[in-house]
Amino acid sequence: KSEDDGTASSGAAAPSAGAQVVQSASAGGPTCTLDQYGGTKIDLKTAKVGFSQSEKEANPFRIAETQSIKDEAAKLGITSLTTTNANSQFNKQISDVEQMIDSGVQLLVIAPLNSDGWDSVFAKASAKKVPIITIDRKINATACKDYLTFIGSDFAEQGKRAADEMAKAMGNKGKVAILLGSPGNNVTTLRTSGFKDQIAKIAPDIQVVFEQTGNFSREEGQKVTEQLLQSNPDINGIYGENDEMALGAITALKGAAKKAGDVKVVSIDGTKGAVQAIVDGWASAVIESNPRFGPLAFETATKFFGGEPVGQDIIIQDRQYGTDNAKTDISSAY
């Protein structure tokens, strides 16, 4: 594994601090080769590469994600990298990607907005044998056929770990609310089911009393939490499916004159702001969802074009921040 990357994202103080690490477990899964997928060997350096970002870059996760791709491409000396941002408009993302295929990109890295709805892109890409690496959110399709591979976290596992931390923080009982991510993608679905299943299993005395979408946005997280705190003043825990919503929730808690720690907050992503919230006592734990996809994505592509087999599902390891390590590890947050 490359150790010397990660100059990338804004927050990475120590070079290796934020790098993605592949889970050893996923090493044994099905693989894909150039032969299986079809296509020709190319040199990545001179190749045309396209990256399609889905959401506006208001979320540090997105900033870090895009920056990581750009930085790694620069580091590898890839001269022709096109990036687009769909500003959360799905049809725009589809035409962004199609347009990149038309313009002859030879590798596509996509951070999809929605997990479904990629048929036309696949049709186009497969006709031209352009390998697609989807990062962060997964696309519901067949790896090594419709797309090459998925690189990202185990979202159900993230939900499960969040549940563990929540149960611990709440002392295995009480009422918890969920701030749901935006609908239509596997991240939200799995983080929800992973969390709920685990709570039911390990802490049956914890009740999920409230679920509303905050669309992964800070403002909506805050607004929903403000209402929640009025109707359920006895709420003990808030699970934010990303850090932004959790930070909005914390602002709401402060506004409702709650004290740090009154309501346990657990969330997912690992942004600087959220980890700082642990340090400040407002949050209990943050499960990381590492957005620094650049190195791993290009390493995978290099291997693939070099004829080596690559995993169809490259699941990364996510660290975790809690009261014990937040202060010391905040430098690896983004």
């Binding site: 941002n85 313009s103 036309s120 609908p183």
Partner: protein
């Protein structure tokens, strides 16, 4: 209908010399005003062809057209509505609703995949039309309510947008991604509907009624134009086309994506206005609307071509184009009135 053949006594012509000249200027200015968007489109495309090698490819053109297909259908319906002096804010919601319904219904075959969204969106359009025509409530507000209602309905049938129905029918999917002469089926479908739209608007009695209602509702009704029926129909049409746009988009995407269509109504209105249709009603062309939609599509495409230009510039440039085109049109219209 027979005519009572009456001819007045011989009278000197009322038209004087300068009026003839005015007529000619009028026609020229009118043409520029109507075809302004087309002219701008041509200029932009020519510049793009000269500047961006990637823009030149056939594939790129086909992609622009395919991407423009659903907005074009929506703008087509919107053009009818706006010419009657109305507005339809519900189309973005009907579009996403139509897509979800089509994907769900595709398990019962291609026909169902089209019929269900058409039926539901047509019915909502009908409700819009009936309320607007018979209660004289402002179209803006009625269709704003429909925007909310239809989106709520979409969420209700998709577990708040988290459930995405996959297209079950291969034939339906084929319609979305197959092509004829290397141009997507949707483009042909839209082209055919646009042609029908042009003919209907320009050459049918219904089209004449649409213009008459927008031009002067009172006069139209005194002249025997079925004002209410015309209004009802344009909203039905708009609803049907928005639903159809959703359906063909679902066929293309292979699923009933739920995160679509927010703000699409305003894009459609912008395209129609850029195309030279007056929001006050009574005048406008479908050709102009098509040029307006393509212009917005080409701008988006070009921003992507300019390498790593922040995609937010797209909004800035589209907004500037909108302002520019409309201001120029206004001055031309004024010029026309003076002559």
């Amino acid at each position: 209908m027979t005519m009572t053949n009456v001819s007045g006594p011989e009278t000197p012509a009322i038209v004087a010399e300068d009026v003839r000249k005015a007529e000619r200027t009028d026609r020229i200015v009118g043409t520029v005003q109507r075809q302004g968007a087309l002219a701008v489109l041509v200029v932009v495309v020519l510049i793009a062809l000269a500047t961006f090698p990637n823009f030149r490819s056939f594939d790129n053109a086909a992609t622009i057209l395919v991407a423009a297909a659903p907005p074009m259908l929506i703008a087509l319906g919107m053009t009818f509505v706006i010419i009657t002096g109305g507005i339809d804010l519900s189309v973005g919601s009907l579009y996403v609703l139509g897509g979800v319904l089509a994907a769900w219904a595709s398990q019962y075959g291609v026909l169902a995949a089209f019929l269900l969204p058409l039926a539901v969106c047509g019915a909502i359009g009908l409700a819009n039309g009936v309320i607007i025509a018979y209660t004289r409530m402002a179209p803006f507000i009625v269709t704003l309510a429909a925007l909310l209602g239809a989106r709520g309905l979409m969420r209700a049938i998709s577990s708040e947008g988290s459930e995405t129905y996959l297209v079950q029918s291969d034939a339906f999917r084929k319609l979305g991604n197959g092509s004829f002469l290397d141009i997507g089926y949707q483009v042909w479908l839209v082209a055919a509907l646009v042609l029908i739209g042009i003919v209907v608007l320009a050459r049918s009695r219904f089209g004449a009624s649409v213009y008459a209602v927008g031009g002067s509702e009172d006069a139209a009704s005194l002249m025997g134009v079925p004002v209410r029926r015309t209004k009802v129909w344009v909203y039905v049409l708009s609803g049907l086309l928005a639903g159809l746009a959703g359906a063909i988009n679902a066929a293309k995407l292979g699923s009933g994506v739920t995160v679509l269509g927010v703000g699409m109504e305003l894009d459609a209105i912008a395209a129609v206005v850029i195309g030279g249709t007056l929001l006050t009603g009574g005048a406008g062309t479908i050709a102009g609307t098509i040029a307006g939609v393509l212009l917005l599509g080409v701008i988006q495409n070009l921003i992507n071509q300019v390498g790593n230009l922040n995609s937010n510039w797209q909004q800035v440039i589209s907004g500037a184009f909108l302002a520019l085109v409309v201001v120029v049109q206004t001055y031309l219209a004024r010029l026309r009135r003076v002559t």
